[in-house]
Symmetry: D2
Subunit: 340 residues, 4 copies
Amino acid sequence: MYSFKSDYSEGTHPNILKALNEINFQQWEGYGEDELSLRAGQLIKKALGREDVDIHMLAGGTQTNLTAISAFLRPHQAVIAARTGHIYVHEAGSIEATGHKILIVEGKDGKVSPADIEPVLIEHCDEHMVQPKLVYISNASEIGTLYTKKELFSLSAYCRKHGLYLFMDGARLGPALAATCNDLCLADVADCADAFYIGGTKNGALFGEALVIKNDLLKEDFRFHMKQNGALPAKGASISVQFGALFENDLYDELAKQANGMALKLATGIKELGVSFLGDTETNQIFPILSNSAAEKLHELYGFLDWQPMGDDVAVRLVTSWATPEDKVKEFISDLSASI
Amino acid sequence: MYSFKSDYSEGTHPNILKALNEINFQQWEGYGEDELSLRAGQLIKKALGREDVDIHMLAGGTQTNLTAISAFLRPHQAVIAARTGHIYVHEAGSIEATGHKILIVEGKDGKVSPADIEPVLIEHCDEHMVQPKLVYISNASEIGTLYTKKELFSLSAYCRKHGLYLFMDGARLGPALAATCNDLCLADVADCADAFYIGGTKNGALFGEALVIKNDLLKEDFRFHMKQNGALPAKGASISVQFGALFENDLYDELAKQANGMALKLATGIKELGVSFLGDTETNQIFPILSNSAAEKLHELYGFLDWQPMGDDVAVRLVTSWATPEDKVKEFISDLSASI
Amino acid sequence: MYSFKSDYSEGTHPNILKALNEINFQQWEGYGEDELSLRAGQLIKKALGREDVDIHMLAGGTQTNLTAISAFLRPHQAVIAARTGHIYVHEAGSIEATGHKILIVEGKDGKVSPADIEPVLIEHCDEHMVQPKLVYISNASEIGTLYTKKELFSLSAYCRKHGLYLFMDGARLGPALAATCNDLCLADVADCADAFYIGGTKNGALFGEALVIKNDLLKEDFRFHMKQNGALPAKGASISVQFGALFENDLYDELAKQANGMALKLATGIKELGVSFLGDTETNQIFPILSNSAAEKLHELYGFLDWQPMGDDVAVRLVTSWATPEDKVKEFISDLSASI
Amino acid sequence: MYSFKSDYSEGTHPNILKALNEINFQQWEGYGEDELSLRAGQLIKKALGREDVDIHMLAGGTQTNLTAISAFLRPHQAVIAARTGHIYVHEAGSIEATGHKILIVEGKDGKVSPADIEPVLIEHCDEHMVQPKLVYISNASEIGTLYTKKELFSLSAYCRKHGLYLFMDGARLGPALAATCNDLCLADVADCADAFYIGGTKNGALFGEALVIKNDLLKEDFRFHMKQNGALPAKGASISVQFGALFENDLYDELAKQANGMALKLATGIKELGVSFLGDTETNQIFPILSNSAAEKLHELYGFLDWQPMGDDVAVRLVTSWATPEDKVKEFISDLSASI
């Protein structure tokens, strides 16, 4: 049964496997203090167009979020996030487990704007309440939407003005930047965010995320926080070699484009069947609204998530990846056509 | 300038000062293992009509909430509370600081019902999310409202059915139970809640809250949690003697009735001036809606909180206590009359 | 049965009860933002001979230690303390519960010196280990000993040189400074420590400790940390009025001298019976070594702690306070004489 | 420059790379709920000779220790460990960061015995101290020593009798069980421990540890704790497939034997040069004592750690692995011979 459940169902891109093979019998310094980590860092810095950042390799997204956020904040400080934010909903309370409250805002299309933050700052005015200090955003968002250049720069300016850190969860930063309608580049992200991570696990790596810390205040002693959170991999080189492969010859961008392209084909085919969507996305997640009966039939043939019940209908989530074969996309459309 | 800001502006009721004086030169075992603590516990058990509870004396409300809730939960478990809940809004993130997420529900009139909880339980279905385990309610609520007997028993039955602990913040339990329209008694509260506290600080004590733990699963090793949170007072007797005085001759109830009575007089007088209210309460907090100009004038004469801006008007909060003199109530009404 | 178990067995000094009575029917701002807290702060600043400190009133010693230390440190930073340190042994793991390791040193006579710290700094050289950042000392120490002026200034200089904060637990700072052989004054303590607290509970207050923060880096947002730890008392004035009484007319010093004096009488009487001691102290804790049989007999007549078993003998701890009557001291000596 | 610094300098055993290649283009359920994880679990259960255990795959050792230990304990409970214990020394305070104190015992040869624990239990008798609840041991220990069958069963019996959990850190469990003098098997470990992990990272895996939970009380909701600590890998199959390869055809044992064999050759060759050792080990870590000048010369040619300064000499640590070539062992001996 083919699965459209996620973009991390398969192993890793062949270039990465090849790179892992190539370095396998060499010896590398432990804990990310090796040549491969140095080189991966340099490649990423080149892609960002700046040298003044620290880059750390971590194993997964939740780990990266919790390690970074808890390192950046003092005990009384809180995070602002959209209600749909991954850290708020789907990380099992990991941020709160490090001691920090998440203040949620409704946002719009899964995104946070200065207008969302303003009332939170006004409300939190004394020591009986937490002190808002870090704004968490995801790009692409958890519902596949994108920040425009204007939105991100405006948000960033607002945060700086109010002494807030801006942190971007880039689990799906690849698909975001590779989207047709996107007008942001990696350098913009580095301009705007105090820290962010470039997701590997959901864009072709076997595992791994590259955390970029730009704000000097947040850099000090970060490796202590990694170690303390079990996030300083003994074989750090095994992540770095993957990012080396991803940031050589634009593979990172290429894989995301491939994933987005398949999602577009899938969405286009589904639309042509007269199906409407929960929202429009140009990344690798789409949310068609199916009748319950059609969804039921398709569940027998494909793996995918029911995202939101809507009476007799249900919005489902279909995710494509660098590894999604085009014939599976066509089959799905055909099977959907038969089940309507 | 007279203050209607809170019910903890003055010291303590004379009976309590007298009791503190009487025991002052005796020696008492430290850390609540003294005769006075034993006796206060017995008086409270008598008031509850049951012996099968553990009673602990703590210094303040936030301390009691955080010590109890963090002791009761495992790391992945979360609290359900109303958006207005004191622990969610006004305790500086103390629950999250102990590692636990608070899942908020909108509730109604500051209260939580089974219908509020149901969707939270449905949503939180796997290990990617926290596990809801404890329902936090306040009675009186943060906006002065009360749980009826029917509401509380229904909520309690729902919690038991779904394996949730029910915890009641009783910072203002006195005024709640003393309200004219209240149909709950202390024994009902003990029947319904797995644990709750009887607030002293806001009902005539110099300081102190009495935590009642009924659920046997929650009793074990509780004094370790108190000590670890800096909540095991060396001179525990100094709190116990206060609760001894409060639960002798119904002083606890009497002080709350006194506070509620003054609030009623104040509310009645204000209503007679044609002023409307944000909500009706029968406890010691009232929320009249004043014009901004009237509120401004009164701020020169009295201490009170602006609770909620409403365009040209503002809902303000006026709190009375056992110590509120009737002539101050009359003066306020008169000054309000002059400022309208 | 008379108890020499602790210096917090009785209520509070009459002057303090009197002060509590006098202010009882006045209204005070909540949470320590009142006139009495302002005044108590001024009296303490005067005693310190400096204005550049922040002063906060907290309810108890463990609470003060955990609130201060967790506020001062980042997550990966650790405390250095003597093996006998109260936070290491007798606060139920409260510091670790806030996330911080305590690195113990053997010390000498319950005290920490630069020579103790040096190897800890050498060992903790990278991110696989915690980062030592704060040195915790107690004066008087947990075994009744004192820091000399030379020792404290030397330790302070060492800490500054190595970027370590110096924090003094002053639960028994009164008896320390009032000791005959002491050569430190409050101004010296403030000179040397980045923060320290002046203990009230064990020197005549009903309850309460006054935390003094001198290092500007540690001052910011401290009230948030107090609130988050349940350590911002609603009726802050009720602690401040006590420190007002203690720091008016040198009562604080006088009570400590009284306690020390009784301990000296007790020790002298016991020594005259040929009894030896575990160590010499000039504060209000003494540690005579009794035969097990003598200790057993005295336990029937007096409360006191067995401190350290020593074969057929046992070192016991006797504590005196401002409230210890001289005739109880005499009785004890006489009863001991009879039991040898 | 060849490194004897660690057993995780190289990538992974070719069989594992092959397995990763073979499954690369298949789709796997996320978060360890896949067929490969099921199969790896079955292989490990077979090796343990029992079915009544839960098996979880995690990315690294520190992560496994902190996730397991914090899941197993309530807030006031503490760990007992040897002073040399990895969690005490080299995990950046990760256990304390989850809120739990580590009580250290001196132990002997890096090992903990009932005689070490007894005084800790006697001392920790009330709520002013933490409650010892879990005994942490490492096998092989951090200094390469082994628990004998008798020692482990005796320790286990003691723990059960006193209500303590026994947790074994098995980062180097492979080399321990493969040692010539070892008399333990995996089934014994499962018999004795309440939980333990089988280390992959240090025995041929690219990364990954397999946690085995036997005690039913510790099993519930464990995946929540994994997720909350960022330790539930999205591509769980990528770890499981490695353990599948390791536990098929005894590869796990074979790789450890290979590592131990190289260590033995190295130790024998060094001994023949008249060099003495800090302690004897039969696993893959050896600790020869070299003159400072010899060590200095060898540092120019090889990577290794100075373990313990000893005046004019220094005990160094040499670690071998499944990937250590015999000619490097010979070269080292020869170079050492030349430098003495």
